[in-house]
Amino acid sequence: MIALYHVTKRYEGLARPALDNVTFQVKKGQFCTIMGPSGAGKTTLLRLLFADERPSFGKITLDGKDLVAMPKGNIPFMRRQVTMVFQDYKLILHWTTLENIAFALDIAGVRRKESLKRATAALEEVGLLHKRDVPCSWLSGGEQQRVAIARALVVQPKVMLCDEPTGNLDPSLAGGIMALLLRQHAKGVTIVLATHDPTVAARHDGPAISLLRGQVEVRE
């Protein structure tokens, strides 16, 4: 499903690359964890998979298609099948939670009524139904994180890229979110989850990739 070959990402003004010669694969339907301390390059890796950044070197394929060579106009359509939960949530703060989630469906051409219904269901799934009509700026960090997760799963993607999806949640909520991701996984969604928390990785038995200073070691 996802394959990286010798991917290197350098940022300008950074002495060593954020990712250095990374090669690994995630098979369809796998739940893959990317572990590593802060600054290891986890977010960079996910953004490369999301075509939000281009590698300085190397090849990334998604479903057999070369992501680097993908025409710019196709990227929006790719992002309706590969969704991402961002570390900083990326919510439109003056919109309500419902609007933020429904937007992902609206742009995919889902009818308004239907998308409101599905967005409401997604909110219920992350336990935020009571904040339905509240602007996102009124939500706590953990609540915003859950809205971001709801937005990522509401479009029924093939792949979910989750960047520290439990980073701001207390253990019981984190457990709930992990259970939610595992349910998605059970439905066949491929999941790539980045975290610095070993207990999160221990909650499932998929492959885990350890990143340290941009370099990779794979554990099956």
């Binding site: 106009g73 929006p76 359509f77 992002r79 990326k90 937007f103």
Partner: protein
């Protein structure tokens, strides 16, 4: 498409005041431009009327039809004479009466009415006309020549000044529209930059992102045109009741100008988006 409209309206609703002010500024510019154009249009119609008048009148000293014919053929040979009309003494009298010459004078038995020749020459070559009329007066059998071209020339010069002003106003309005729309759209974009970024990340196409801004430009242009047109109508109804009969601008002129304003507005909105 409904999504795009919802977003556009939402964006505008957030910045109602600056939207209104921008539209008013554009509208006022368009109004000024239309006002000059209306003035010019009426002026031009009057001018066209004047062109139908003879450019000069020759009074003949001959009175036999045969001799008159001879004078006529000499006149027709002169450059820039397009048409001549003969008025017999009787017709001449009624023409002069129509032009306001007192009846007492016309019926004075001591002054026998001469044959009159109206010379039409078109005023586009006024210099040549003047020369022509000098020659007309030297034709044998022509008693006196009244040249009417100078006034027309003055009207024509005034029309040219008006046309220059109108062109200037049109350029000014274009620049104004360009400036106001792009200022509005730029502000709109920069206040929404994080939002645009997020929309891209969620999978919105460029089309979906750019169209609301184009629509904002379009709406601004439309509202501006409407304001300009309304002001013009108000002004015209005032002018019609308080001054003289003024003709409204024809639709063939108005529609293309509004279309031009709209194109300009959308174009500058797109330009602002691209340059961001």
């Amino acid at each position: 498409m409904r999504l795009v409209f919802r977003h556009t309206l939402g964006n505008i609703a957030q910045r109602k005041l600056s939207f209104m002010v921008s539209a008013l500024i554009i509208g006022f510019g368009i109004f000024l431009c239309l006002a000059v154009a209306t003035f010019l249009f009426n002026f031009h119609q009057l001018f066209e009327q004047t062109l139908k008048h003879p450019s000069g009148i020759a009074f003949l000293s001959v009175d036999s039809a045969e001799k008159v014919q001879k004078v006529a053929s000499q006149m027709m040979d002169l450059p820039s004479v397009q048409k001549i009309d003969f008025l017999s003494p009787k017709q001449a009298a009624s023409y002069l009466a129509g032009a306001g010459v007192p009846a007492a004078l016309l019926e004075d038995p001591d002054l026998s009415m001469p044959w009159m020749v109206m010379v039409y020459g078109g005023f586009d070559q006024v210099a040549a006309q003047k020369e022509t009329f000098r020659k007309v007066s030297s034709i044998e059998g022509v008693d006196e020549v009244v040249y009417l071209g100078d006034d027309v020339m003055r009207l024509k010069n005034m029309f040219n000044i008006g046309a220059f002003a109108a062109a200037l106003a049109a350029i000014l309005v274009s620049v104004l529209t360009l400036f106001v729309v792009s200022a509005f759209v730029r502000l709109s974009i920069s206040s929404r930059l994080p939002e645009i970024e997020i929309m891209r990340l969620v999978g919105a196409t460029e089309k979906l992102i750019v169209t609301p801004f184009l629509l904002e430009g379009l709406l601004l242009g439309m509202l501006g045109s409407a304001v300009g047109f309304l002001l013009l109508r108000l002004c015209q109804s005032f002018a019609v009741t308080h001054f003289a009969q003024a003709e409204l601008l024809p639709l063939e002129f108005l529609l293309p100008s509004f279309a031009a304003v709209l194109c300009l507005a959308v174009g500058s909105a797109y330009g602002s988006f691209r340059s961001h």
